[in-house]
């Protein structure tokens, strides 16, 4: 196809952004409409927040994804194009509702703009679909949102989705209780975040805590807790992280549990996830379609002691996974 306009007059959009043309748009809209309705029917009312947020509100906690674009308004205040919807929704929850209104359930289909690694070719502008539950009992919230995320993926037309489930605190607790220096612990956790297991192995050897490397490498498909021995890995079964994780796994339906990969090396990609964390996968796509977790730390940064749990899916990746499954990829 020859573009109508070519040559020196052509002006591509900013790096990391793209145009969506009618054929794709029709499919994307059909898919997202079903997903939005599903969340709304589940009691997660759709909200819209401003595209622009004050930089100090969006980036002030330094817990969310870094913003890609900033600008100055006529009063000299620094604004950013929101990098995420969880932070604005937490702002809405703590500023627009009385504490006795909890628990609050919200959903959204919204664009966000985030910083990407140079040369990675990632999109700066993404269209996210997600849900947030604020002020509910943490394990109940996790089960509710994990299953809702699964239903959303099924409603999009995905057959083979799976969920990786972990808790970043497990490794941290092991290192803290083993008397590892804060510096060594940070280097090791950083290597886990970078998925550099060669460095994890050599560090674990050096600090004489080989279980740290074993935990970082533990992935169990279709998790069966009855066959799993946490003590052998140096995990204290009474620790908050392990009891949260096991309570959630036990409460999930057997059909859902069959799709879960218990992943003890799963590290959150966003800093506000401070407990249970998960990612959504499909074998047709080589990267996570989205993820979620608990973010009590973010609520604390907004002065609330409530707990929060949510997820977000990259709708364009979900759409690509649907197309991939239709082509028979990954099966």
């Amino acid at each position: 196809m020859t573009p109508i306009l070519n040559g020196s007059n052509a002006r591509p959009g900013p790096s990391g952004t793209r145009d969506v043309l009618p054929d794709e748009m029709r499919e994307l809209r059909d898919m997202t409409r079903v997903m939005v309705d599903l969340l709304d029917d589940a009691g997660y009312g759709e909200v819209r927040t401003p595209t622009l947020e004050y930089e100090r509100a969006m980036d002030g906690s330094e817990l969310g994804p870094r913003a890609a674009y900033r600008l100055i308004d006529e009063h000299g205040d620094a604004l950013v194009l929101r990098s995420d919807m969880t932070v604005p929704i937490v702002r809405v929850a703590v500023t627009r509702y009385e504490p006795n209104a909890l628990p609050l359930r919200f959903s959204y289909l919204a664009r966000a703009w985030r910083r990407v690694k140079p040369r990675s070719g990632e999109a700066r502008e993404i269209l996210q679909l997600g849900a947030e539950l604020i002020g509910s009992e943490p394990a109940d919230a996790a089960v509710e949102l994990l299953e809702l995320c699964g239903e959303a993926l099924s409603s999009a037309g995905l057959a083979d989705w799976q969920i990786g489930l972990g808790d970043g605190r497990i490794l941290g607790e092991l290192l803290a209780s083993s008397g590892v220096s804060a510096d060594d612990a940070e280097v090791l956790l950083e290597a886990v975040r970078d998925q550099d297991l060669v460095t994890v192995d050599s560090l674990a050897q050096r600090i004489a805590i080989p279980q740290a490397a074993t935990i970082a490498r533990t992935r169990i498909n279709g998790v069966d807790l009855e066959e799993f021995d946490p003590v052998g890995l140096g995990i204290n079964p009474a620790s908050p992280a392990w009891s949260d994780l096991t309570a959630v796994v036990r409460a999930l339906s057997p059909e859902f549990r069959a799709r879960v990969v218990l992943d003890l090396g799963l590290a959150p990609k966003i800093d506000y996830y401070d407990g249970l964390v998960f990612e959504a996968y499909d074998p047709a796509i080589g990267r996570a379609l989205g993820g979620g977790g608990s973010y009590d730390a973010l609520l604390r940064a907004f002065g609330s002691s409530a707990s929060g749990f949510g997820f977000a899916l990259d709708t364009e990746l979900v759409h690509a996974a649907v197309a991939g499954e239709e082509r028979g990829e990954g099966s």
Binding site: V198, P283, I285, G286
Partner: protein, 211 residues
Amino acid sequence: MSSDQLTIAIPRGALMTEALDCLERAGIDTAEVRSNDRKLHFPDVGIVTVRPSDVPTYVESGAADLGITGKDVLVEQSYREFVELADLDFGGCTMVVASIAGDPDPMDVAAARLGVIRVATKYPKQAAAWFASHGKQVEIVEVKGSVELAPLTGMADGIVDLVASGATLRENGLVARAEISTTTARLIANPVSHRLKATEMDRVAVLMTRA
């Protein structure tokens, strides 16, 4: 691609034979790959053969579940998403700074007289990082191969390149001035395959790393 068979990206070139030896240890038949230098895709045994610097690309996209390539390539492409699973302990090389033999070092002359050293390399990220950490201003000239030619033709004052024995440097009248790092072949995995095909991947990785 069946659900439990893994696709593995193998680097063509210097690391290829030993990479295939690793696969043999994991029970993967590599006879056809070894006997056919032109063919790139071997779906029956789950092998694709690519340039070493393309291995992270194939693994990140999920076109390959596993890949073998040098640590030098991984450092250069650290913006890509992959799991670094194991050090395969072969293909050992040293990344060095080199220039035309003799005293004074032409890089020192350039730095003193012109303020900037022109450095040719296939590894712009690692070269820039090393010179920056040594407080030297450089102009990186990125080339795709035969880096030794750059100082001989006057295009650069020095090079950053990977050397195994140092023979190529010597034959071109160059001498190593500093060591930047050492590198070996690594086994990397696609992050999604690493979770969804965990059992099979762990089985293969253990056999591959057992020397």
